[in-house]
């Protein structure tokens, strides 16, 4: 009986203390929950503010898209004794092909160039042309967008292409035929390019026609080559004095 009484007393004491401790525990848990809710709400508000700041900052960056122009390039002026040409009196066109035989055609609308004339021999001694690559066009709107992207011309990064030829020599036995050698800067690379052309000079004006193959992979434009989907060679047609 004595043992039972002692056990009862102990149990009652335990119940009282346990109730007290669980009450205080519940109180602490409730306090912590309130604290957590507060911090969560606060952090979410800060995150919201942060997001708003970010959006405003992005909007503040504005639209940096500006038309690339060929006016600020190293192409010498026609006043310096040369013949000036541009998209209005000349043509730069290309034809890209696929191994299955299909092809797409296109060209550049905005370019500016000068052909320097040797007054004594009445021949062209140098040619310089600067092309606004953003003015590229093709027979398909979707293809034009694709050509401007990083897969091909990466226009945003490389808005200009330049060609300078100082070595123009006559082809023996072929009157009016010349071999044009120069440097083409396209994308991030500059490489030597040479092509045959028919050039004529009359009364200070120049006519030139040439169709040749250009290996685009020399300029880092490799897309579709390794998987044999697009040919590496592009047929280029340059015509000064005609636009069709």
């Amino acid at each position: 009986m004595v043992v039972t009484k002692a056990v009862r007393e102990r149990y009652t004491l335990f119940q009282t203390t346990h109730t007290l401790s669980s009450e205080s525990l519940q109180l602490n848990v409730a306090k912590n929950k309130t604290k957590l809710k507060f911090w969560r709400r606060l952090s979410m508000r800060y995150l919201g503010l942060f997001a708003l700041l970010a959006i405003v900052s992005f909007a503040g960056c504005g639209n940096d898209t500006e038309d690339a122009s060929v006016s600020g390039t190293t192409v010498p002026d026609a006043d310096a004794g040369g013949f000036a040409f541009s998209g209005e009196n000349a043509l730069i066109a290309f034809k890209g092909t696929k191994p299955d035989g299909s092809s797409h055609v296109g060209g550049f609308k905005d370019f500016k160039g000068t052909a320097q004339i040797d007054e004594e021999t009445e021949t062209v001694k140098s040619i310089a042309v600067s092309i606004n690559v953003e003015s590229i066009f093709s027979d398909s709107e979707k293809l034009t967008t694709h050509l401007k992207n990083v897969d091909f011309f990466a226009v945003s990064e490389f808005p200009l292409a330049e060609f300078k030829a100082d070595d123009i020599s006559a082809v023996e036995g072929e009157e009016g035929r010349f071999l044009v050698k120069g440097e083409l800067s396209l994308l991030e690379k500059t490489d030597m390019v040479e092509f045959p052309a028919t050039i004529a000079v009359a009364d200070g004006s120049v006519t030139m026609e040439s169709t040749f193959m250009l290996d685009r992979t020399k300029f880092g434009m490799n897309y579709g080559v390794e998987d044999n989907k697009i040919d590496p060679g592009v047929e280029l047609t340059i015509a000064i004095g005609r636009t069709e």
Binding site: L47, S57, A68, N149, S156, P159, N222, Y223
Partner: protein, 298 residues
Amino acid sequence: MLFDVVVVGFLVPFSVALVLVLGCWKVESFRSASASVALIGASVTGVLLLSWLPVVPDKHWQWLPTLASIGCLLTVIAGNRARYIRLAVVVVLALVASYTLVPNWKRLEETIWGYRIAGVFVLIVYSLFTEFGTSRSDGRLASLILAITAIATSILMFCSGSLKFAQIGGLIAAASLAWAAVLWSTQSRNFNLAGAMPAYSVGIVGLLFCGYMNSYSDLPIPCYCLVAAAPLGLALSVSRKSTPTSSDCDQASKTNGLEIDGVPPNKGIGPTGLLYLLPTAIGLGWAIVLTVLAEFQG
């Protein structure tokens, strides 16, 4: 061409990511790193298979797979350490990503630092939101949303006119689909998806940014923003906790293996769960309609 985009840019990296997730899954000490290891695997596979993705990045967008891998490595190293260390990883990754991904083009000379600062803000916010959301929601729903967001991003890049960017998006989609495949094929609900979120965020946000900057399509900026919005919805809805959290799942996987007691399968995943994908669907649908219209007009 589209075949190569799908096979090389998606199916092969997906297979590698899946093998890695399952491999890590079997080893308990690696389980929490499964998601990160899969993303590293998909990124490295992409760099090895895609000839135009160099090991040492040169152009700003070529940093995307590298940053995703570095981000995953950092989060794996940080592991379950103190919260401030994991936060530091997010901040460092956002700083490095913003510095490398914003192109130093001549026409951006005046605004380059504006873009970089804004990029840091956006990446930190997106990383924290997705980390918060995925750590407190059902892993299967989260993985599904992450995978669909990555696939949508890849398709958007295709619409914006770049197959290269579409393939980079395919790498992230491959990894996230591998997460989803494992989580949906087992009874488990999570394997620390949140750990891979800083790298995932850099991948998605960075890709959308690079895609927008390089695109000459007529897609408006809201298309790009909406596509990335789905994972943010998870973070905004976690206050209504109806599904087991990642810690519940981690605890369960430690004690019972892969199953969580008393949690019926598919709880919380249904038409309501898929509402999170609404902004992504709107953004992508808008982009597809504009692309198709442009094709017809062309």
